[in-house]
């Protein structure tokens, strides 16, 4: 099959799959096709989607490729799904961050760092499948240890765990405001000038490179508050 015939099939497969499709998986489905051809057709497909004004693009994430809507269109999609602005709780984010960077780790280790009981937040993360039990620790009591899942990578648009910025890199971003300190000037109504939306901490994360050049998302105007 030539590459031009391969492309639409790959498009259909990526479209239909519920989760990111890996090159391995594609090659397995497209048995008989050279892996390089699959890879090249995929590359072309990704580039087709990135050119022009499109509502969707292909993201490389969680070890595979997935079609997604452009970030700039999120307000319209929220309207479609009748959802509010989704916020992930601080507790959940903190816990996720610890598990992502320190995995595998036990609940006791986690609570040692956070300083608070974390059963509830762990339960929710397990339910949402962002975290899973990956085994047991070889120590008295053989406590279970937690790790992140593929859904975690998918949810946070990470190619793999190695794509997480290192903690060191993060520390250099430390000037990033941590909301609490703005309180100081509260009485005097200081400028502040900070909204929850622009936690600039991650402004220049690796991630953004790929699609940062797509301004099409922005500037379509946002729907009025739902």
């Amino acid at each position: 099959m030539d590459r031009n015939a391969l492309k639409p099939i790959i498009e259909a497969l990526i479209f239909a799959a519920d989760h990111p499709l890996s090159v391995d998986r594609l090659a397995a489905v497209l048995e008989g096709e050279a892996r390089d051809d699959v890879r090249e057709a995929l590359r072309e497909l990704v580039s087709d989607y990135s050119s022009g004004l499109r509502g969707i693009y292909i993201e490389e994430v969680a070890g595979g490729y997935q079609l997604r809507t452009h970030p700039g269109h999120a307000p319209w999609l929220r309207r479609l799904f009748k959802m509010g602005m989704q916020r992930i709780s601080k507790a959940a984010l903190e816990t996720l961050a610890m598990i992502a960077y320190r995995q595998p780790l036990t609940r006791a280790e986690l609570e040692g760092i956070r300083g608070v009981d974390s059963a509830g937040v762990l339960r929710t993360l397990l339910e949402k499948r962002l975290v899973r039990i990956v085994g047991r620790k070889d120590e008295p009591g053989r406590p279970v240890v937690y790790g992140t899942t593929k859904e975690f990578l998918e949810t946070f648009s990470l190619k793999d765990l190695a794509s997480l910025p290192t903690l060191k890199e993060i520390e250099t971003l430390e000037e990033a405001p941590e909301l609490p300190e703005t309180m100081e000037g509260y009485a005097t109504e200081n400028d502040g000038g900070k909204t929850s939306e622009d936690n600039s901490a991650g402004g220049d994360s690796v991630e953004k490179e790929g699609r940062g050049d797509d301004p099409s998302g922005k500037g379509h105007g946002e729907p009025q508050g739902s």
Binding site: F15, Q66, L67, R68, H70, A74, L77, F81, M83, G84, Q86, R87, I88, S89, K90, A91, A92, L93, E94, L96, A97, M98, A100, I113, R114, G115, V116, D117, G120, V121, T124, T155, F156, S157, L158, P165, I170, E171, L173, A176, E178, L179, P180, E181, M183, E184, G185, Y186, A187, E189, G192, G193, T195, S196, A201, G202, G203, E207, K208, S226
Partner: protein
């Protein structure tokens, strides 16, 4: 006392310490332990006085701080100091704070990523990402979006200080019930859309009412009935939480139901 607000829904002792360190602009590597300990304990007292149900971890941290403080007062022996004995008593705490802070930053970084189901969508109805919209009593996160509990406590402290009467919390007032306050706030919100947190506390109000109002706000945040946000100008506002078409708990139906949800009515 007729009500308690569970605090373990909110932040923990590490958050409070970091909050104090930032607020006072002190060097995390050289924490003025006496001052920070005092302030930490003042916050604790404040929260206890407001009947916030302090998790044990807060007390443990207080004990740790006091312990460090007392060790700092011991004279350093001149000779025969081993590495370990000579270590700054604050070292362990600093290490823990730094580590915790690292993950707090990592959490902010995670949150700034393109999140599936929030910023981008794949095919099909996105699953509910926001942990604070489950609306159940077991919800993990109160509706304090970008404001920490300690921010609120700090603002509240300022308000109390501004009161014409000397600072003294009088909790004997039973005339003000949280349930009523909750209803009143929700009613105002349905008329106004959003409210400035500070405006909920008129200087003329009796202290008992002010405290009850504060607790009502926390309770509403915990029940995810409201969201607390800080706007660009640093003003803390509260607004109704988005709950789809079907709001979970209906406080409009009078205090009885509200009383139950608050729980632990003694």
């Amino acid at each position: 006392m007729a009500y308690r607000v569970k605090l373990n829904m909110f932040e923990g002792p590490m958050d409070l310490l970091l909050h104090l360190i930032k607020k006072n602009e002190v060097d995390i590597y050289d924490i003025p332990i006496a001052a920070i300990t005092d302030e930490y304990i003042r916050y604790l007292d404040m929260m206890k006085a407001m009947n916030l149900d302090l998790a044990g971890e807060f007390i443990v941290m207080a004990a740790t701080l006091i312990h460090i403080k007392s060790r700092m007062l011991l004279p350093i022996p001149e000779e025969g100091v081993t590495e370990e004995e000579g270590e700054d008593p604050r070292a362990e705490l600093t290490r823990k704070l730094l580590e915790y802070q690292k993950y707090k930053l990592a959490a902010i970084e995670l949150n700034s990523r393109t999140v599936l189901g929030r910023d981008v969508f794949a095919r099909g109805v996105p699953f509910d990402l926001s942990f604070d919209m489950t609306g159940e009593s077991g919800a993990d996160d109160p509706g304090l979006a970008d404001v920490s509990l300690f921010d609120l406590v700090a603002v509240f402290r300022d308000i109390i200080k501004r009161l014409p009467h000397p600072y003294k919390i009088d909790l004997t007032v039973d005339r003000f019930r949280i349930a009523d306050k909750i209803n009143a706030i929700m009613e105002m919100l349905s008329l106004e859309g959003s409210l400035v947190f500070k405006d909920l506390f008129p200087l003329t109000a009796p202290k008992g009412e002010i405290i009850v109002t504060f607790l009502a706000v926390l309770e509403l945040a915990r029940l995810l009935m409201i969201k607390v946000n800080q706007t660009e100008d640093g003003v803390i506002r509260i607004r109704r939480a988005f709950k789809g078409e079907s709001a979970g708990v209906d406080f409009g139906e009078g205090g009885a139901q509200a009383g139950n949800t608050i729980g632990e009515v003694h």
